[in-house]
């Protein structure tokens, strides 16, 4: 055997490995510039006052009433919403998964609907229903003859309730998932030991899913505390501030050091909640993980209560999920805000009007560009990093994998501030252009893409790829013939799952936009803020349609595994 020729056969492979290493290095640099450096910048700026290292900015956060009140508001509002979301989400999950209530899958879709609606669009819809001239407010005054309604949607209470509506699906998803994964033999053993169904549920089931309830609630808490749209649309009018909206106003003064210090505090709170949530999730796997068995668990027989409970659940679900959408639709075709609800006052003028508006056209083009670009780039980078860490088992790739998921713990407001700080000065000035928004979107959606690509790649057993290799396929050929065809539906679904939230993004865009770089989210917010309720409604309706189409597509592609 001629050893030299065999050595030659080895060389191309070593070379190929080097290409992959070079790509990893470039990705690492990219992550550094786009994630690590800006975050470091925020932390650094929060610690500098008048050119000196000091805690003055933090003193301002904790000692100035307007600021610490915002922090306090953030915490109590989020806690209240979370408690409501937890109670409602858990109860509905038990009801849907563990009783013999009919129409389970329909109920599930209905209850998950709010999850797919952008919270700020939801907030607008709830003001249309419960605001001073809202449909339900008018119905109430007409029915009771009272001069005014006893509630005010533009209040802390309104913020709490609307936040809860958009966070309870998170609890619902986690708890119903955990309920479905429980090893049913644990419950059966309790039944045989002599416990009744309800007793079993209370003694065995609920303790087993408690970690899931807490984990879901913590996710809901993070969702509440980092939300901007709802407290902005419902709180500004009554001068009720939370951290995110307070940061927004600090930036418009502008008081950047204060904004950065508040951002660090906000990040700290949400990151702590997420760390705790991860712990619970890991601990939970210890006793509920079962090996792919799907046994139908026993369900509580509701007997005579079946229909009343179904009716009540459907009405609640309809009220929370469908009424806001209907209200949006009606408002968008109404002649004028407050017009009587009759066919005569219906018109498509608002749609015609926005079609002519330059700003709206720009916003659509920008949002489309940002959605497509961020989905494509994050999916490409995410697929590469996931592949190298899942299959290549490379430590450097595993580090990138982790780094790419860090922004998950960052509230959007914080990401936006990091971008402003990093890109408004220095060698490359991107602030004011659409590129700074793209950078922010990439940071925000990288974790989503890495998570979906990780999961998708893990579904393809390594031996499928190895079988291609021993059949005579090179690395690239194996990718093309086996790995990509098998992961394609998952990757496309992942692309859409990034595109949709990016397409209607508000929180980062509202801080980063300038003349010419408006997005749809910004357009809707500004229209609503300026009192053009119906223009905002028409735009929101279009966004909801895009989201609906995207979700149907994702469900098709993933055969119901992902999406709503």
């Amino acid at each position: 055997m001629d050893v030299t020729s065999a050595r030659r056969a080895w060389l191309p492979r070593r070379y190929a490995l080097d290409v992959r290493h070079a790509l990893l290095l470039i990705t690492g640099l990219f992550f550094f510039v786009i994630i690590l450096y800006p975050l470091g910048h925020v932390l650094y700026r929060s610690l500098v006052s008048n050119g000196l290292l000091s805690l003055a900015n933090y003193r301002a956060v904790f000692l100035t009433p307007a600021n610490y009140r915002a922090l306090w508001n953030s915490i109590w509002v989020s806690t209240c919403s979370t408690v409501i979301a937890m109670a409602v989400g858990t109860l509905l999950a038990l009801l849907v998964v563990r009783t013999d209530i009919p129409c389970k899958s329909f109920l599930k879709i209905l209850l998950l609907l709010p999850y797919g609606i952008p919270p700020f669009i939801g907030a607008i819809a709830w003001t249309q229903l419960f605001g001073p001239a809202g449909y339900i407010s008018k119905l109430y005054t007409a029915l009771t003859g009272a001069g005014q309604v006893p509630w005010n949607v533009y209040s802390p209470g309104g913020v709490v309730l609307v936040l809860a509506v958009y966070q309870f699906p998170v609890v619902f998803i986690t708890v119903s998932g955990a309920l479905g994964r429980i090893d049913t033999t644990l419950e059966e053993a309790a039944r045989i030991a002599g416990a009744g169904l309800v007793r079993t549920m209370w003694d065995i089931t609920v303790p087993l899913v408690t970690p899931a309830i807490l984990a879901g609630s913590l996710l809901a808490f993070v969702g509440c505390i980092s939300n901007f749209g709802i407290p902005a649309l419902l709180g500004f009018r009554s001068r009720f501030f939370v951290l995110t909206t307070r940061i927004y106003s600090a930036l418009s003064i502008p008081n950047i050091p204060l904004a950065t210090a508040m951002s660090v505090v906000l990040t700290g709170v949400s990151a702590a909640a997420l760390v705790f949530q991860r712990r619970l999730e890991k601990g939970q796997q210890k006793y509920t993980l079962i090996a792919g068995k799907s046994v139908n668990p026993q369900t509580i027989n509701l007997r005579g209560w079946r229909m009343p409970v179904l009716m009540a659940t459907i009405s609640i679900a309809f009220f929370l999920s469908v009424t806001p959408i209907v209200s949006m639709l009606i408002t968008s075709v109404l002649n004028y805000w407050g017009a009587p609800l009759s066919l005569a006052s219906m018109t498509l003028d608002h749609y015609k009007y926005i079609a002519r508006l330059d700003m709206v056209r720009r916003a659509f083009a920008n949002s489309l560009f940002l959605g497509i670009a961020s989905a494509t780039i994050t999916m490409a980078v995410g697929t590469f990093v996931s592949y190298m860490s899942v299959r290549g088992k490379l430590r450097s790739a595993a580090i990138l994998d982790l780094l790419g998921t860090v922004p998950y713990a960052l509230p959007c407001t914080v990401i936006a501030i990091a971008m402003i700080l990093t890109w408004s000065r220095g060698p490359v000035v991107l602030y004011g252009t659409i590129w700074v928004m793209l950078a922010a979107y990439l940071v925000r959606y990288m974790p989503f893409s890495i998570r979906t690509t990780n999961a998708t790649l893990k579904q393809v057993h390594p031996s499928l790829e190895e079988a291609a290799r021993v059949s005579g396929a090179g690395w690239l050929q194996g990718m093309r013939d086996v790995v990509l065809p098998l992961t394609k539906p998952g990757l496309i679904a992942g692309w859409i799952l990034v595109f949709m939230p990016a397409f209607r993004e508000l929180t980062m865009s509202i801080l980063l936009w300038s003349q010419g770089t408006e997005t749809i989210g910004v357009a809707i917010y500004n229209m609503q803020d300026a009192g053009y309720t119906q223009i905002a409604a028409a735009l929101s309706t279009i966004v909801l349609l895009v989201i609906l189409a995207g979700n149907i597509l994702v469900r098709r592609l993933s055969r119901g595994r992902i999406g709503l």
């Binding site: 055997m1 065999a6 056969a9 080895w10 057993h461 005579g472």
Partner: protein
């Protein structure tokens, strides 16, 4: 006979763990060679090093006389450039390709002319009794059929060697037995050299021309199945292959070809043994090498019997030692009965 695979001083370290520790063997033409050992013994890692799916940390691999891996010389031919066929434990049949597409894929990569692809694929389908299933997708096939597709894909290019990684472990007992014969037939028909990795000693014994028993990354014994069964090199092999009774004993007298040992019950037994042994040792006896009777031998107590078809297996007690013994039909013993046993053949380990 020509060698098909040669492995020289192969080692694979994972961190600080030596999964494969200086393993050497060769597989000759037409040979069915098994790597047998408990899970985690390094047999699959060895196989993957031969396939090129894993990089060894030391050693060499030759396939068909060609050096494909040499850590010292920096040679590592990628798996797609090695003339091998391989069947994975979970079959790894591609779910997005039909049976035909799965089987013909290696031929297409080898750029075989279309006529030949068709002809050879049909031949393999025929040989593996998959005719008529060519257009089906794997999800529509049974486990046994998927297994055959994986085999067909591995065989279609007439490779030098066929690597099989626990291919029968996912099948049910009946099908497994049937596939054993089919694999053996297949080898007769094609004359291919087979490297078979398994933890199932019965499987390895039944099919192999030669077996290498592995433990903790090391080949502890290599030989023909009956040699390993009859003359296990150490206690591990004796325990791992077949059923074995182990009795603590004391060697008291050594003659040229036998040793007198005293069991813990106090009884003294003569055991055939070459060489000298003294002090504490371990007497290993197969259940079928013990004769149980009502007449003569060591006094024992029958505890329980299990009827197993062609024979009955009893657990008996001699002093404090429990022994499993097999008797052919005829003599029947009741639990609690006192009986006598004779050890016809035994092995001694120090």
């Amino acid at each position: 006979m020509q060698e098909r695979i040669r492995v020289n001083h192969l080692s694979r370290k994972f961190g600080t763990v030596l999964a494969v520790d200086d393993v050497s063997f060769e597989i000759r033409e037409h040979e069915f060679f098994s790597l047998l050992g408990p899970s985690g013994c390094g047999k699959t890692t060895t196989l993957r090093c031969i396939a090129g799916l894993e990089q060894p940390t030391a050693g060499e691999v030759y396939i068909g006389g060609v050096l494909v891996t040499s850590v010292a010389d920096g040679v590592l031919v990628p798996p797609d450039k090695r003339a091998i066929g391989m069947v994975f434990q979970n079959y790894a049949v591609w779910p997005h390709m039909t049976v035909e597409q799965n089987i013909s894929y290696p031929l297409k990569l080898a750029r075989a002319p279309r006529e030949e692809v068709k002809q050879r694929t049909d031949k393999v389908l025929e040989m593996l009794q998959l005719r008529g299933l060519g257009k089906r997708y794997p999800a529509e096939l049974s486990g046994g059929q998927q297994q055959r597709v994986a085999l067909g894909r591995a065989l279609v290019t007439n490779p030098e060697v066929l690597l099989l990684d626990e291919p029968l472990s996912n099948l049910d007992a009946k099908l497994r037995e049937q596939m054993r014969f089919e694999l053996k037939d297949l080898q007769e028909k094609t004359g291919i050299a087979i490297l078979y990795v398994t933890h199932d000693q019965i499987e390895a014994m039944a099919m192999s021309d030669r077996v290498a028993v592995m433990n903790n990354g090391i080949i502890v014994q290599e030989g023909k199945p009956h040699e390993i069964y009859q003359r296990p090199a150490n206690k591990f092999v004796a325990d791992f292959i077949g059923t074995m009774n182990f009795l603590q004993c004391q060697a008291i007298e050594s003659h040229g070809d036998s040793v007198k040992v005293r069991l813990q019950s106090g009884d003294v037994v003569d055991v055939g043994y070459q060489g000298s042994i003294r002090g504490k040792c371990l007497l290993a006896v197969r259940p079928e090498d013990v004769v149980l009777s009502r007449e003569s031998g060591l006094r024992c107590q029958v505890e329980v019997g299990i009827f197993l078809g062609s024979f009955t297996e009893y657990r008996v007690r001699v002093g404090n030692d429990a022994l499993r013994v097999q008797t052919s039909i005829g003599a029947q013993f009741q639990p609690g009965e006192t009986a006598f046993l004779q050890i016809e053949k035994g092995l001694l380990f120090q």
